[in-house]
């Protein structure tokens, strides 16, 4: 093992260091200077992103080619790019870079949207930001993880941090969310671990791309492996929040502080999909597509249906966004269906589309949660649909951004969400799964109804008087420049990504 390869994980190190700095800084600075903590956390994310880009550039210059999309697509010739480092525990490939990038973005944006919570001491403490950074580090590691052991450890780094984060607001709902998340999360980890144990017991291998290479053991202990894989998939589908393992999502999203909800909906989801992607593209691959892809397709269809139709009935915007997140998990699953006769180029193409979806989804969801986090009255948080009435009059800019996020989530052109959906549907059709794609388009139309309700509330619905005898006023937002930065930035990115969808891939050349 070549320890100098550790330098390729420097971005993770930067984020971890920032986490420690934030926690210790909280101990030494005065209480009134606490506003500096989110800035330090933000700096950690930005430095991590910088280091990630630097890593990418230096690797590209060194090998005179950009990394492969996943380790299976790497050429084997001497001098070619070998993405596997540290004895195959990590794979430094484009998929990993992309997931780490999305995780850092999600971390930075959720720090921005939490920075105004200074009234709540738990939410402005160093531990809070430290935990966000720890979770981000876990997500980045998950992006690069290439064997079951590193996968499990990174997953736990991320999960345990988010369990605590979910309960960081000191009220009943937040506590309930944390407990629910902890119990069910532990449950799913148990499934995952059991699956890994079965597979390791049967094959004696841990590397993701090697466990299913045809061999004698694979035949002799087929039952054990099948059982192991089934348990593994249950665990992973649980983490991404796919139906029928989605029940925890609405409660946890609703109860957790809004900044944390944003992080869970985007970063955690991206990291969980990193695991799913590695399993789908590296472990199973086209060779076993017949065996598992129908399962993913069924889960995708069920998830889309459940998410969209339950979202129709929600009156709480945060809860509605949680169900919409479930629906989007379904669309994303479509992007991971592999055709039995796919080649490396097609798989790389599919991964690229899925990553585009994750990026677009992260931007619009974090933006939407940012707006939701700001709406309040007399210091009370307001999350119900009717509380958004008249937002367009009081805060036209925020309402405009929120409308854009809603339309983008619904998949209307020219916003990023349209291309994201377009690309994953294309992936599914290319892989030969036409019916799931068609159902995806149909449920996506149905989703228009509930996204439009938010827009209608902001722009069209009459404003009700909040107190008897008072003149009716529109919804009011607390002012916070950090959150405004997040919202307008995400809004701009949603449009730009929609107008120039080949922009991100262009950057990678």
């Amino acid at each position: 093992m070549n320890w100098s390869e550790l330098s390729e994980l420097l971005p993770v190190g930067v984020v971890l260091a920032a986490a420690l700095v934030v926690v210790f800084l909280d101990l030494v600075i005065a209480h009134k200077d606490r506003y500096a903590l989110p800035m330090v956390a933000l700096a950690g994310c930005v430095l991590g992103l910088g280091s990630l880009i630097q890593n990418y550039l230096s690797l590209t210059t060194y090998y005179k080619q950009s990394p492969p999309w996943f380790s299976g697509a790497a050429e084997t010739a001497a001098g070619a790019f070998n993405p596997l480092i540290l004895g195959g525990h990590f794979s430094i490939d484009l998929f990993g870079f992309a997931i780490a990038g999305v995780a850092l973005l999600a971390g930075a944006l959720s720090v921005l949207s939490s920075a105004h919570e200074e009234d709540d001491s738990a939410l402005s403490s160093g531990e809070y930001y430290g935990l966000i950074l720890l979770a981000v580090a876990g997500m980045m590691l998950l992006g690069f993880a290439h064997d079951f052991l590193t996968l499990l450890v990174s997953l736990e780094i991320m999960s345990i941090s988010t369990y605590i984060l979910a309960g960081s607001r000191r009220d009943l709902k937040s506590g309930e969310a944390a407990l629910k998340y902890l119990v069910l999360g532990a449950f799913s980890t148990a499934f995952l671990m059991m699956g890994i144990a079965f597979i390791y017991g049967a094959t004696g291998k841990l590397s993701l791309s090697e466990v299913l290479i045809p061999s004698e053991q694979l035949v002799s202990s087929a039952f054990l492996i099948r059982g192991g894989l089934a348990l593994l998939l249950v665990g992973v589908l649980f983490k991404v929040g796919a139906a029928p393992f989605h029940f925890w999502i609405p409660d946890v999203y609703e109860g957790a502080p809004t900044g944390v909800t944003g992080l869970m909906a985007t970063g955690v989801k991206a990291a969980a999909f990193a695991v799913l992607g590695r399993l789908a593209f590296e472990t199973f691959g086209p060779r076993y597509a017949h065996d598992w892809a129908w399962l993913f397709a069924a889960a995708a269809v069920l998830t889309m249906a459940v998410g969209n139709f339950l979202a129709l009935r929600q009156e709480n915007v945060k809860r509605m966004l949680a169900y919409s997140g479930i629906a989007h998990t379904g669309y994303l699953l479509l992007g991971f269906l592999v055709s039995p006769n796919a080649d490396g180029i097609m798989l790389a193409d599919q991964l690229q589309n899925a990553v585009f979806y994750l990026l677009a989804y992260a931007l619009m969801t974090l933006g939407a949660f940012g707006v939701v986090g700001l709406v309040r009255e007399d210091g009370r948080r307001l999350e119900r649909l009717e509380d958004f009435a008249g937002l367009s009059k009081e805060h036209p800019g925020l309402a405009l951004c929120m409308a854009m996020f809603m339309f983008s989530l619904a998949g209307l052109p020219p916003f990023a969400g349209f291309f994201a959906k377009f690309l994953v549907f294309k992936s599914a059709v290319d892989a030969g799964y036409v019916l799931p794609a068609v159902l995806g388009v149909l449920t996506s139309v149905a989703s228009m109804a509930y996204y439009l309700r938010v827009v209608r509330a902001m722009y069209v619905d009459p404003v009700r008087a909040t107190k008897p005898g008072e003149a009716p006023a529109g919804a009011r937002c607390r002012y916070s420049w950090t959150t405004n930065l997040l919202i307008y930035g995400a809004g701009l990115a949603t449009i730009l990504l929609g107008l120039f969808p080949s922009g991100p891939t262009f950057l990678l050349r």
Partner: protein
């Protein structure tokens, strides 16, 4: 020295209002006057460009003002814009009516900033639809228009605005989704893989038939020969398309070669030039480059090149055959390319396993039909229209009726009829029936209305029926009449909605029965209203007349469907449609009588006549209504070449796709082409034989299949030559 031609005219036409949106959003909302001025200025740019195009455009049937840039790499989506005779009347209309609608909105007082930002965005969407030549771009603009419209109705509309807005949104969204399906499906099919699969299946069927025959089973020899003929025709079509693509590319290379100084351009330069002009050079580019060089060097040395004994020529033919054998057509959204790929869409198609297979193009055509029919609106899909028109503010009603409805018919012409020409023929009669239902049903509904605005809305339903009828006839006059009717209905109905808005501003209601004798107090208003009503009625000398007459003449001469159902011919349908004119006169005159004549209702005696701004919006429309009524020739000239070309395209497809597929392939196309040329009329039905002779014989002789590209290439080559000349001059200076 810049000429206007060198500018990205159509991008400016489309995005000037969007720029206006950005500027409007930056102005503080208390400066309402500045916002209104900026918005009007931004809307004036497309109008001026539209007027410029009206005077500068000479119809050749080819795409002009072409712009193309690569937009999305992986999907082969291009930013392609261009106009031909179909779009020119529409962009003039959209420019003028859009500007008038913005000026007519000066009276808006509620949330001025938001209103003008949205209406400008709406204009961008509409203008974009009329100029985009890429299916994907078309779809994006089509959707872009939906959002501002929802807000404009939902926020600034009348009392039931929320219901109206939601209804409009859901109807349009349903249509858009179907269009999205067609967009994707035709993209997937455009590479010919599915047709190749279809050919493979057919080959196997024939093989099994032959096997059965050998084993002694009774197989009708005619069945085998029919199947063989069909297969040969399919092969022929596929190869023709491939040959066309190769030819386009090779010609493009040669054009680049010709302008390059001394010894030809390098491959890299060639690629750059091709990319700039929207030609996909990806597969076989180097082969074709070599091929082009070969041809050129041969052309220089040997005059009699096409000679089977010439070794160079044989080599050329061999290379060409090799390329043809394994060329990858590639998927495309380019509408002018998809137009030539229609045979690829003929194969069987199974949507779901439990459904019987249908023709792919028929399914796609029906999906597109619903998408566009909702917009037109065609009879069973029209119920959103009265709501939206009545609840929308005046200016938005003007845009809805004046421009939005036309997008449906334009979509039929631009997409359905071009990409699926065989279905245009198959569904001609149902389309005409729907058109006639629209005419009669819309007129009857209009007659029953008490609300002036609702009456005008239903009259739109009725008038769009004429467009459908003329379009379905597939004759030159019918289609020209349909396009003209779109334009004329756009101007006259805009006038009517503006006039209804004028009286609503004063009386705050639109109930026809409560007015009376208004002509005594508001003579100018009554005059304009009379003009608009008469134009809408189709009185000779006003614009509506000529288009309706053309539609009737064209439809009456059409022989579509005559061979399938003699009782439901276009002749009988036209006779029914003419009844619509009588009904139109009835409801419009009755309305006029109740509002303007009779005893004066004393409540309204103090009303002022029209003010300056109202006159400013109405006079241009009135001038157009009269001018194009008296002298419609300029408008007819705009489409004089494009419409016959589209007709030829449809008819040529029919000659191959219907009966001829079963006969030997080589006889298919020349027969159809000769038919068109010989009989002169577009509807030369090979089956019925006796095609109508007569004064419709104004068609161009059949054009070479790549006429479009050469036209573009020529314009572009001149540009390239100019650049090179300047470079040479500069070099000499040094």
């Amino acid at each position: 020295m810049y000429e206007l031609m060198d500018w990205p005219l159509l991008s400016l036409f489309t995005f000037a209002p969007a720029l206006g949106t950005v500027v409007v959003l930056l102005i503080p909302s208390r400066r309402a006057d500045i916002i209104k001025t900026v918005a009007s200025a931004a809307a004036a740019i497309p109008m001026l460009l539209g007027v410029y195009v009206f005077f500068a455009y000479r119809d050749t049937g080819n795409i002009t003002y072409y712009e193309s840039h690569k937009w999305i790499d992986g999907l082969n989506v291009w930013y392609r814009m261009g106009i031909d005779g179909l779009s020119v009347p529409m962009i003039i209309l959209s420019g003028v009516v859009g500007f008038i609608a913005v000026v007519a909105s000066w009276g808006i007082e509620k949330q001025v900033k938001g209103y003008f930002a949205l209406i400008l965005l709406l204009l961008t969407g509409m203008n974009g639809v009329f100029v985009s030549l890429d299916f994907f771009l078309f779809y994006v603009f089509w959707e872009l228009m939906l959002l501002p419209m929802y807000f404009l109705i939902g926020v600034w509309g009348g009392p039931k605005r929320v219901y109206a807005a939601i209804k409009f949104f859901l109807y349009t969204m349903a249509g858009s989704v179907l269009m999205l399906v067609v967009l994707l499906a035709s993209w997937y099919w455009s590479d010919g893989k599915y047709l190749e699969g279809h050919i493979d299946r057919k080959t196997q069927e024939i093989a099994s038939l032959v096997r059965q025959d050998k084993e002694g089973a009774k197989v009708d020899p005619k069945e085998i020969s029919d199947a063989n003929g069909y297969l040969a025709a399919m092969y022929q079509r596929l190869n023709d398309i491939k040959a066309r693509v190769v030819e386009t590319r090779v010609n493009a290379y040669r054009d680049v070669q010709r302008v390059a100084p001394l010894g030809g351009a390098t491959a890299a330069e060639t690629r750059r030039a091709l990319t700039r002009n929207g030609i996909d050079w990806t597969p076989h580019s180097d082969d074709m480059f070599a091929l082009a060089n070969q041809v050129d060097s041969n052309l220089k040395g040997l005059p009699g090149l096409v000679n089977p004994n010439n070794a160079d020529w044989l080599a050329y033919e061999r290379t060409r055959a090799e390329i043809l054998a394994d060329i990858n057509l590639g998927r495309t959204f380019d509408l002018s390319e998809l137009k030539h790929r229609w045979p690829l869409f003929l194969g069987d198609f199974q949507l779901f396993r439990f459904l019987p297979p249908m023709s792919f193009s028929a399914v796609m055509f029906l999906f597109l039909f619903v998408a566009f029919a909702i917009k037109v609106p065609v009879f069973p899909f029209h119920t959103w229209l009265p709501w939206a028109h009545v609840e929308a503010p005046t200016a938005i009603s003007v845009i809805l009726a004046g421009i939005l409805l036309k997008m449906g018919v334009y979509g039929f012409f631009r997409i359905s009829y071009s990409i699926f020409p065989t279905e245009a023929v198959n569904y001609a009669v149902p389309f005409a029936v729907l058109g006639v239902i629209n005419i009669l049903y819309g007129a009857c509904c209009a007659m029953a209305q008490d609300d002036m605005k609702k009456l005008v809305a239903y009259s739109s339903v009725s008038h769009m029926g004429f467009c459908m009828l003329g379009m379905a006839a597939l004759t030159q006059w019918g289609m020209t009449g349909s396009i003209l009717q779109m334009f004329n209905h756009g101007t006259s109905t805009s006038m009517m909605f503006l006039l209804v808005g004028v009286i609503y501003d004063r009386a705050h209601h639109r109930d026809i029965n409560k007015f009376g004798g208004l002509a005594q107090r508001l003579p100018v208003y009554a005059g304009f209203m009379t003009l608009a009503l008469f134009a809408s009625m189709g009185l000779p000398g006003l614009s509506g007349f000529i288009s309706e007459v053309l539609v009737f003449l064209g439809a009456f001469r059409s022989d579509m469907g005559r061979w399938s159902s003699p009782s439901l011919s276009f002749q009988s349908l036209t006779i029914l449609a003419v009844l619509g004119v009588v009904l139109t006169a009835a409801y419009l005159l009755w309305m006029m009588q109740r509002v303007f004549f009779g005893p004066l209702n004393e409540k309204y005696k103090d009303y002022a006549d029209m003010n300056g701004r109202e006159l400013f919006t109405l006079v241009p429309l009135a001038v157009m209504v009269i001018a194009f009524g008296v002298y419609p020739q300029p408008l007819l000239d705009l489409t004089s070449q494009t419409v016959p070309k589209l007709g030829q395209h449809i008819m040529a497809s029919r000659g191959i796709a219907s009966a001829e597929l079963r006969s030997v392939a080589s006889e298919g196309e020349p027969d159809a082409a000769e038919g068109v040329a010989a009989h002169g009329a577009v509807p030369s039905a090979p089956r019925t034989g006796a095609a109508p002779q007569g004064d419709e014989a104004q068609l161009e002789p059949a054009l070479a299949p790549r006429a479009e590209e050469t036209g573009d290439m020529r314009a572009w080559r001149e540009e390239e030559e100019a650049v090179l000349r300047t470079a040479a001059v500069e070099r000499e200076k040094r």
